[in-house]
């Protein structure tokens, strides 16, 4: 049975606004609205229709539980909800710059939380760009607590700075996804196996070193109009041995094989033991996010 997502009739700001399911809008309208809410961001991350469509698919965003704030046919803001069993993820939340501080963001958050409770989720998570203080404060006010810091990294094309050691075994998608399933460390929504399983062109490599260290790297070979343009969604895992040594070797093998590809990867935890290997390999920090979560109680509404 389809559960009817919560919406609210109107809010007290002037002029009043309504929250309606995002599924009532076309992807073109949502893309335009999303981009307009972020024009003044330090890291605006605009999207086109293709990218937003892919985003909705990869991260299990359900537009019928996602919301648009509307006033006289003008979109004031929006917020999307990713749904997985027992959990939801609030994402793409934004309000037009001239419509902020009028309760729109708070109303979107409250109703996304209500929708999460309707779905019987036990927990909801989100990520906020570090130093976006107004958004962070809104999330604290709506009951979210910090989980940790996540880094977004970039590396320009180029060979690795040193020769990798060991003989890698390159694996195809099915085996790469099986490797991801073997992780027992909590992941952000973006780096969860569920997200990578929804993404195309996932590959991997495993590596055994002479000292007994063993680990793997899973990545996406991102395409643009059928051409490989970048590597992304890098996930490193050490099963045994020295994580830094393995990280260096796994990354060196990757960049030796794909020296002409740009690389961007999201949500590497600040305490990930492989992080120093990224920096040694020439990765640059683009920006940081703070992951936050909120437990949900099913007798709470709004």
């Amino acid at each position: 049975m389809k559960i009817t997502p919560a919406t609210k009739a109107s809010y007290g700001a002037s002029p009043p606004f309504q929250l309606v399911p995002a599924s009532r809008f076309t992807i073109e309208e949502l893309t335009r609205a999303y981009n307009q809410t972020r024009v003044d961001y330090m890291v605006p991350m605009p999207m086109n229709v293709i990218r937003l469509t892919e985003y909705i698919h990869v991260y299990d965003v359900d537009l019928s539980y996602s919301l648009v704030a509307l006033s006289s046919d003008q979109i004031l803001g929006l917020g999307m909800l990713g749904i997985r069993p027992g959990r939801t993820w609030i994402t793409r939340l934004g309000v037009l710059p001239v419509k902020r501080r009028q309760g729109v963001g708070r109303a979107l958050m409250d109703t996304l939380l209500t929708n999460s409770e309707t779905l019987q989720a036990q927990v909801t998570t989100l990520e906020v760009i570090k130093n976006n203080i107004p958004a962070y404060n809104l999330f604290v006010r709506t009951g979210f607590k910090d989980v940790g810091e996540l880094l977004v990294l970039r590396r320009p094309p180029g060979p690795p700075p040193y020769t990798p050691i060991g003989e890698p075994d390159w694996v195809e998608r099915a085996e790469a996804l099986a490797l991801l399933e073997s992780r027992h460390i909590p992941q952000s929504w973006i780096t969860e196996t569920g997200s990578l399983a929804n993404a195309e062109d996932i590959l991997g490599l495993t590596l055994n070193l002479a000292d007994g260290s063993r680990g793997w790297l899973v990545f996406q070979q991102q395409k643009f109009r059928m051409f490989s343009v970048s590597l992304s969604r890098l996930t490193l895992h050490t099963e045994r041995g020295d994580a830094l040594l393995l990280g260096r070797s796994l990354l060196a093998h990757l960049h030796e094989r794909y020296p002409n590809l740009d690389t961007h990867t999201e949500n590497i935890a600040l305490d990930d033991p492989h992080l120093p290997a990224f920096f040694e390999m020439g990765y640059l920090e683009s920006f940081r996010r703070i992951e936050m979560c909120r437990q949900l109680s099913h007798n709470h509404h709004g």
């Binding site: 024009v39 970039r154 643009f224 343009v229």
Partner: protein, 121 residues
């Protein structure tokens, strides 16, 4: 006539750059995404390229990387146009082969013009 390609998805920013640069006698080409920008760059061989780092299809760093791999753009001044913090912008533009960067939002038109003119010398 000196030609400047502006790759910027935000219409207000693109329009501002167009007006300011046109008023100085430059021919301005505009593209609102990386793919169109790349096509225009190949077809028109501009004298300078101003690239927003946040584009909706492929981001600005990737676009700059594409252009820098082509011999015809080896010596074309490419400037990033970004709101990123100074330290991040400086690291990114150096790593991706930009000649420099211009900060958003534009707070001084004369300074903007001086920066553009300096890279065209």
């Amino acid at each position: 006539m000196t030609t400047i390609l502006v790759v910027e998805d935000l219409p207000d920013n693109a329009e501002l750059a167009d007006r300011v640069l046109s008023s100085q006698g430059y021919e301005v080409l505009k593209a609102s995404d990386a793919e169109t920008g790349f096509q225009l760059a190949v077809e028109r061989q501009p004298d300078l390229i101003l690239v927003d780092l946040g584009l909706p299809d492929v981001d600005g760093q990737t676009l700059v990387g594409w252009m820098r791999r082509m011999p015809e753009f080896a010596h074309t001044p490419i400037l990033a146009w970004t709101a990123w913090p100074e330290e991040t912008a400086a690291k990114m533009v150096q790593a991706y082969g930009c000649n420099g960067y211009i900060r958003k939002p534009l707070t001084s038109i004369p300074q903007f013009m001086a920066q553009i003119a300096a890279y065209l010398r």
